[in-house]
Amino acid sequence: MDLSSQILQYVISGITNGAIYAVIALGFTIIYNSTEVINFAQGEFVMLGGMAVIALDGNGHLPLGFSFLLAVLAVTLVGIALERFTIRPAKSSNPIALIIITVGASIFLRGLAMMFWGKDSLGLRAFTGSSPIHFGGATLIPQSLWVLGVTVVVMAALQFFYKHTITGKAMRACAFNRRAAGLVGIGVNRMVMVSFALSAAIGAAAGIVIVPITLCGYDVGIMLGLKGFCAAVLGGLGSSPGSILGGFLLGVLEALGAGLISSGFKDAIAFFVLLLVLFLRPSGLLGSKEVKRF
């Protein structure tokens, strides 16, 4: 394989991973916009989605599409429970307290997953076939198309939801100004709950489509969640287009770095990018909100 087709190959795998990072970053953004909470348990939604669909599919009686929906629904309920039982009763709105609460929730969920499913990584059959598609000297597995397809559907659905439904508009109002939203009769608490539900649902969907490519274990959530957060910061925390851009950019950068520099340091690349962005331009590429610095 010559260098150009090698690079093409890296870019393809980068875009596939980047799509996942983008969806996770969107999950962060949805919750951050409605509550100003960074949900460190976001990656666990992705892990739970993957584990749930493996468990459901393992029965063999259900069609894959049905398992998909059921898994998303189950994780959505987890998201609602997370908001209802940890974020809402929290006495303090101090970021340190909220960070520690969601970190605690994330460890808790990971531990539960380990109790239920054990420590081994589990796999899932590809949605449709696994014979690779060749083009331009590189290969593409069909599951990558599923990942991209689901990502696009998720983004389009979110866009429709925010722009054309009354609940979506109410959520945007909350993101803009919670108090004013409350004054015009929007149930802010309900909107916060919806944002956790949405975020959990899209996280689960991302987790499900990626399982056939990467396998899933109880401990994958932490890295995926943190990378998604890197993507959200890279794009600009709170900006949806920024999250998507950040996700794809991070995925491609990481794949190129892993391929051309060192695969051992693959995970370090994302965090190096994160530190650079935080130190040089904490508002991210597309972020508009002023970041408080001293």
């Binding site: 960074i38 520690i100 609460i101 990971r110 109790m115 925390l237 340091f265 190096f272 408080k292």
Partner: protein
């Protein structure tokens, strides 16, 4: 008599006396080892508490400084045959340099951004421990770290090492108590309450935040060196993200802004996994649960929260008993 409890010298003196007596009663090696770990963790947590509890700056990557101390000591003594004490000093110098390099840009950030910056830093350092195989031995670890010795006396008995660790930790506690009680300590608490207000009253907040960050990194580095010479084998997994979280849990359980709380937190969460060993791997579920419950209901930490509850109870009892109506 109760008045004495308020004096720092009385607290430190009685705590030190208690610690000195422990090895006379406890001769079991396992218990002594646990006590040594409590000492090392206390050193870490007291340092982190200065940063988190007093100055209100979060660090989700403190395991990195612990690891830097451990690996610098380990590599210099095991690979390059340097004697341990100078190695420990070099480790501290290196840690200070790294802490400055990261702290200067990172501490300009607040809240979530600072949390993420320290977290990212911690993970990068962890990956370096794992991937720089020629230097650190990689995932399989670094072996052959010598025991510490003072003069010609090798501290290879748990009892002697216990005295060394706790002497250093007690020194660190005294230092912290003094810092907290000083002008600097009050300035740190002012930053915690409101950074703009602290600046307005003439506190050079940027420099002070970096200073406390570096101090807590030094504590962690020394703890790391002590750890490396104690177990004589180190591997990257002891310095991962989970360990940073465990340290934060110790601070939280012990109580933000309480030096003695830090001792309590370190002791509780070092002993807890030993007690919960029957559940072996499932201790992370319990860690998660503790973090959530304490932070939801007692954001000031367990000791502070328990004290608040006690105060409330006493107030209610007094009101019910009518003792307030008389005055």
């Amino acid at each position: 008599m109760i008045r004495f409890l308020k004096y720092t010298w009385f607290q430190v003196g009685s705590f030190g006396l208690l610690l000195a007596l422990v090895p006379l009663v406890v001769t079991n090696r396992y218990y002594l080892n646990v006590m040594i770990f409590i000492g090392i963790h206390t050193l870490l947590v007291v340092g982190l508490n200065l940063l988190m509890g007093y100055a209100g700056q979060i660090s989700l990557g403190h395991a990195a400084f612990f690891g830097l101390g451990a690996y610098t000591s380990g590599v210099l003594t095991a690979t390059y045959k340097l004697s341990p004490w100078p190695a420990m000093v070099i480790a501290v110098v290196l840690t200070v340099a790294v802490a400055l390099l990261v702290g200067v840009p990172a501490l300009k950030l607040t809240g979530y951004y600072l949390a993420m910056a320290t977290l990212g830093f911690g993970i990068i350092v962890y990956i370096c421990f794992k991937e720089l195989v020629w230097l650190t031995g990689g995932p399989s670890g670094l072996v052959g770290i010598p025991k510490l010795s003072i003069g010609t006396v090798v501290l290879d008995e748990p009892r002697t090492y216990y005295y060394l660790v706790w002497a250093i930790t007690l020194g660190a506690i005294v230092l912290s108590l003094n810092i907290v009680d000083s002008r600097v300590g009050r300035a740190l608490r002012a930053i915690h309450d409101s950074e703009p207000a602290a600046r307005a009253s003439g506190i050079y907040t940027a420099r002070l935040k970096i200073w406390v960050f570096v101090v807590s990194a030094i504590y962690a580095s020394v703890a790391g060196s002590l750890y490396a010479h104690f177990i004589t084998f180190i591997s990257p997994s002891s310095f991962d993200f989970m360990f940073s979280i465990k340290l934060v849990t110790m601070v939280v359980v012990g109580g933000m802004a309480s030096i003695w709380g830090a001792v309590f937190g370190a002791a509780t969460l070092t002993v807890l996994p030993e007690v919960l060993a029957v559940f072996h791997d499932f201790d992370i579920v319990i860690f998660g649960l503790i973090l959530m419950v304490v932070m939801i209901f007692m954001p000031q930490g367990l000791t502070r929260g328990a004290l608040d509850l006690w105060e409330k109870y006493r107030l209610q009892r007094d009101v019910a008993g009518g003792s307030l109506s008389g005055g």
